[in-house]
């Protein structure tokens, strides 16, 4: 049986910092998706994730409800991502164009295909508000409930549902004429 968040937090606070890796792996996807929703850049999301997990570690004694580590971490990720985004906007004033995936072991063709699909979605997501991006990514990609999204983003469940519905409608309109067939939008 996997240890609970509370047990892991207690272990880390007790000096076993290697147990933090379990928490990192458990919440990496959610943290990445939130960071991606806010920054709009996969590479920035990666940097934000790293920064947020380090910050969460240093502030772990301040985590008042270790059993809700995920929600606490998500708030840190959001704050870091917003700060990062503001900094990046000032620094490079760039758009979502020109995103290139980092080097992997995949073939160039597969990598290019994935980058094309990702860019298409990211461009569409860039046209909806940050809060809608977060809701739609957390719900449709991460499978979070509206209750969890509402708690993490500090909105009501009703607003979460509304944002999701509007985000889907907007994204479908933007991607109009494209269909997802197996592994690509055409």
């Amino acid at each position: 049986m996997d240890p609970s968040d509370e047990e892991l937090v207690a272990s880390v606070l007790g000096g076993d910092r290697h147990r933090y890796e379990v928490l990192v792996r458990r919440y990496f996807r959610a943290a990445y998706v939130i960071a991606l929703a806010v920054t709009g850049h996969p590479e920035d999301a990666e940097d934000v994730c790293q920064d947020a997990f380090i910050r969460a570690y240093t502030r772990l004694p301040q985590c008042r409800a270790p059993d809700r580590f995920g929600a606490w971490l998500a708030r840190i990720v959001r704050n870091r991502a917003h700060n990062y985004r503001r900094y990046q906007i000032l620094r490079r004033m760039s758009s979502l164009d020109g995103i290139a995936p980092r080097a992997t072991t995949e073939s160039p063709a597969v990598r290019l295909d994935r980058a094309r699909l990702r860019n298409r979605l990211l461009r569409a997501l860039a046209k909806v508000s940050s809060i809608k991006r977060q809701v739609v990514l957390l719900h449709d990609l991460e499978g979070w409930t509206h209750g969890a999204i509402a708690h993490t983003l500090g909105i009501s469940e009703l607003m979460s549902r509304r944002h999701l519905s509007e985000a889907r409608r907007s994204l479908r309109a933007i991607l109009e004429g494209t269909t997802f067939r197996g592994d690509r939008y055409d």
Binding site: R29, L137, D140
Partner: protein, 115 residues
């Protein structure tokens, strides 16, 4: 129907398998580095605390007290009766002089006649 979930799998971080490992490794490496710095800082703080004025004063007192306790006595304690002057810690020569002075009135009775 427009309210069906969107297929956002191209954005799934699991689509890039090395991504998670790369980020997790980077995080844990940074934590190790920071932990090493913290341990070193804690050690230095402990050493610095020993150099506080209170500890310095306590060390000096301990040194002085130890030196006094270990010092060899300069002269063996005298046995036998001591005069009041010796009991007060006055040098032996002074004590002897005072003793002779206290005996003087008997020896110089003849001089007292000079008026």
């Amino acid at each position: 129907m427009t309210d069906q979930p969107l297929n956002l799998t191209p954005l799934d971080p699991n689509e890039d398998p090395p991504l998670e490992d790369r980020v997790v490794r980077a995080i844990m490496a940074q934590l190790e580095t920071e932990a090493a710095w913290t341990d070193r800082a804690t050690l230095m703080t402990g050493v610095r605390s020993l150099a506080s004025p209170v500890w310095i004063a306590a060390g000096l007192i301990a040194c002085v007290a130890g030196g006094v306790l270990l010092r060899e006595p300069s002269a063996p304690p005298r046995k036998g009766p001591q005069t009041i002057a010796e009991s007060l810690g006055l040098p032996r020569a002074v004590a002897a002089w005072m003793a002779s002075e206290s005996r003087a009135p008997e020896g110089s009775a003849g001089t007292g006649g000079r008026q």
